[in-house]
Symmetry: C2
């Protein structure tokens, strides 16, 4: 490969001159724009390549000394990176929450980098700041449905914050629990507040030995991470068992009362609107009432399920969310925005003040800079992507997307139920469901399959999932799931039916492939 020379000319060129139309990078861009599906299926090698083999191409820990021509590097990226990436656009990649995106995001991504704004501060973002505030307002209204006067008062107020954009649900949950923690331990005489004096003083002044969060065992792992980060400790996260996949409000209440009796305090209850594994929704309305009884913060992690609010038909699945003190949303999930568009919303526009901070050269007091109540500092203008989607798809467009995803999940559930070799493990509440290979004769014999049989089924399902992934035609994920029927968790396939390009034929093909893979396993015939 030829090498460019590190001259000021070469440098000046990469900063000022676009690649010619015949350059490799320009060709790649043209192909990307012309037909993304073809580009991806044409360049990504479908069969799984062992990770160890891929690592060999990325094993040099020395920064290259000499510059490289852009075209040479573009070809290198195609050969070594693109070819071995994951085709998330594919209608048969239904194992995770990443799906095909609308085309306009390709062009907008270019615009975003061309503008390269920094949202931490108005001086480096100008109109992007009001835009982000508007988008937060739109999502806030979608969730909390306050009246027009409320939004006119708070949307652009320097002392209000309807929420914060961030890279994803993990940071959104952290931001919410951070606010909840700081509000739970307000200043007292001699104590300036936790933000200033820290948790150790806070717990002594408030005379409590525990500051607990109650959630479901199905809660996202970011909750435990947040407990660690915030200094509360994972042991203060009370994850209640959920054989029915959702929290029982009475159990939450009892656990909360017990914590209070033991000298602790409940800092927050976290309800989930769309669990990562099965898409279940906690009884938000009743949990809000329990939070009110326990006088604690009520957070709803709607990273996955939040977009359901766009659907007139299914939005009521989330009823009670409007009573939450804070809500996590991920626009890069069911809102079809590129990776990196998380949000936390606060019911009370003043809640963010519990974590507000300032600095002299940046984030001056009274300014409308967005960085003063967020976990992150410098951030890009990702809000533009959601803004564009909200306008180009509109509420009705999102409604159609949500409705057809749910319809597809029900269709897939029906296909599974009708198939001799499969067992539906969790019904779709949103567009997620879990199922497993399980021969019909086993299910007929008794309502309850023996532990030994389940262990064999676990092994079988694990192997089939792996082999299907390796073959590269389609991808479903797997997890281990507790349920009402069995003592032990069982291994299941997990699918997310959010890709609007996925057809019934795709779903049938996936089942067919799994059944064929199973038939080839000695285990299958022994069952």
């Amino acid at each position: 490969m030829s090498q460019a020379k590190a001259s000021l000319e070469h440098l000046y060129k990469v900063f000022t001159k676009p690649e010619g139309e015949d350059s490799r990078l320009a060709q790649i861009e043209t192909q990307l724009s012309a037909n993304l599906a073809d580009f991806l299926s044409g360049h990504i090698v479908s069969e799984e390549i062992p990770l160890e083999k891929i690592e060999q191409d990325f094993s040099r820990a020395q920064v290259p000394e000499q510059p490289q021509f852009v075209s040479d590097h573009a070809q290198h990226l195609l050969d070594k990176l693109v070819s071995k990436s994951v085709n998330t656009y594919s209608p048969r990649f239904i194992g995770h929450m990443t799906s095909a995106l609308p085309y306009f995001h390709l062009s907008l991504a270019k615009l975003l980098v061309g503008l390269n704004q920094n949202l931490v501060k108005i001086e480096t973002s100008k109109a992007f700041t009001p835009l982000e505030r508007q988008v937060l307002g739109m999502m806030h209204r979608q969730v909390f449905a306050n009246d027009e006067a409320f939004y006119q008062q708070h949307l652009h107020s320097a002392t209000s914050s309807l929420g914060t954009f961030c890279s994803g649900g993990t940071l959104a949950n952290l931001n919410a629990l951070w606010v909840a923690r700081n509000r739970a331990l307000p200043p007292l005489s001699g104590f300036r507040g936790i933000s200033e004096d820290g948790l150790f003083s806070a717990m002594r002044y408030h005379d409590i030995n525990q500051l607990a969060v109650i959630s479901s065992a199905r809660g996202h792992y970011s909750l435990a991470k947040a407990m660690d980060l915030l200094g509360l400790g994972k042991s203060q996260l009370h994850k209640l068992d959920c054989p029915k996949q959702t929290l029982d409000p009475q159990e939450v209440l009892h656990r909360g009362q017990k914590i209070l009796e033991e000298g602790g305090r409940v800092m927050a209850i976290v309800g989930i609107a769309g669990t990562t594994e099965t898409g279940h929704i906690d009884p938000l309305d009743e949990l809000a009432d329990v939070a009110s009884q326990l006088n604690c913060h009520f957070h709803v992690d709607a990273a996955w399920g939040g977009a359901t609010l766009f659907s007139t038909r299914h939005g009521s699945l989330l009823s009670g969310i409007e009573k939450a003190d804070s809500v996590t949303l991920d626009a890069h999930k069911q809102m079809y925005v590129p990776m990196g568009a998380g949000m936390v919303l606060f019911k009370d526009p003043l809640a963010g003040n519990a974590v507000r901070h300032h600095a002299q050269y940046i984030l001056r007091q009274g300014s409308k800079d967005l960085g003063s109540t967020s976990v992150e500092g410098s951030r890009n203008g990702m809000a533009m992507m959601l803004y564009a989607s909200l306008h180009i798809l509109g509420r009705q467009g999102y409604e159609l997307l949500i409705d057809q995803s749910l319809a597809k999940a029900h269709k897939f559930a029906q296909l599974i139920n009708e198939h001799e070799d499969f067992e539906l493990v969790t019904e779709p509440v949103l567009c997620l469901l879990t199922y497993r290979l399980c021969p019909g004769h086993l299910r007929e014999k008794s309502k309850k399959i023996s532990d030994t049989h389940n262990q064999h089924l676990d092994e079988l399902n694990r192997m089939v999932q792996k082999q299907q992934r390796e073959a590269g035609h389609s991808f479903v994920s797997r997890t281990r799931l507790s349920n009402e029927t069995y003592q032990q968790p069982i291994t299941v396939f997990r699918v997310v039916l959010a890709n609007p390009l996925t057809t019934e034929q795709d779903l049938q093909a996936i089942l067919k492939e799994q059944a064929e893979l199973a038939a080839r396993q000695p285990l299958w015939t022994q069952l």
Copy 2:
């Protein structure tokens, strides 16, 4: 404006059919690619528009009901957003750390969104995971310069982590202090470690009343934010005064000894390699020794200055950084990568285990998934942008960029020193400097300007900075700065000379405009 209908056809089109070549969005893309400077200067209104006026265009808190055609929305973005954004590419926008980027990032941004990988997990990122690990390894080697065997052992090991990518320096600093906190309070008999049992138990079991961080008053505001988040409290961040802009290692040692004597513990010392306000570098080598004496973590915030290591000539400004336990770098600063490319590096590849977490459906134990030691969860493949830059620019390219930035800063300092109306306040150490308008006769009269005169100068400089910003031809930022000469902080202009497109003519034009603006102020003539 015409409205699209929310039909499945419309939806299917936005997911599958690119815009035609004559569409507004395609036209925008063509213009962007052909000449970014022209696109930006042609579309961005240079004069400052009052924020309140911009907000009027972003004041609707209702999600639009109907879909919109892509072309209509693209024109709307141009008119309302792009026109009122900040021209960070401009060679005369030298007030903040955002600068022009190499052209190839425009195309790569498109590729990144087309691929839409999620780095939290190998299943949704494949080759992007080894790539990110390699990039972390390259930066690790640039900082810590371990031998080849070290990198071959740790680069792709499931139990090692050379660092973490994140959205920016704020998260990187948080991640570093999180690791430092958890390592400072290891498990004891009856205590399972802070991660599990929390800070309250940790401090009781370890029998300490304070867990302190010592840094300079010039430290980034994210340090205080991290103290709040981690539950330590901002009051445990000891920000030592720095009239010379850098930490005095002896003062750090004394403060540390005092904390120990009072029953506290020093958790970390934070050194800065390139302060946000003036670009100064703390004496890293001596601070490392103090950290060793106090037996605490040594973190270096090199978000700005880290890239200096690429320069043979100037790299030694950071000597001692290789003794740090952790280092923050921002590739979106002096490495010319789009916004959102922060990193934290750990000297000890096992340090990250202090915050390692797992989940069943994701981040299985023993996997190489990148999400298990990071603050963030889902993340995009931004590492590709840095990977491309490291290859296309090479170390030599970065060296040239760094060297010419510093040369430019020295040139600008000279222009300021030669100009009758200006006073250089801080010399450039890296490519940042501060100065102010200050008539020559005031400086001649005495070494020390009176407080009353300084107050007038503060007001004058504030007004000139504002008027220059509003005129829109160029932008310098301002801050208030403590220094050795005066009791009170003074208001200064702050410039960052990282844009390779900035010429000496640009710098002269900026000074000329400021001098002319000053001459028009009644205050100027009264001084």
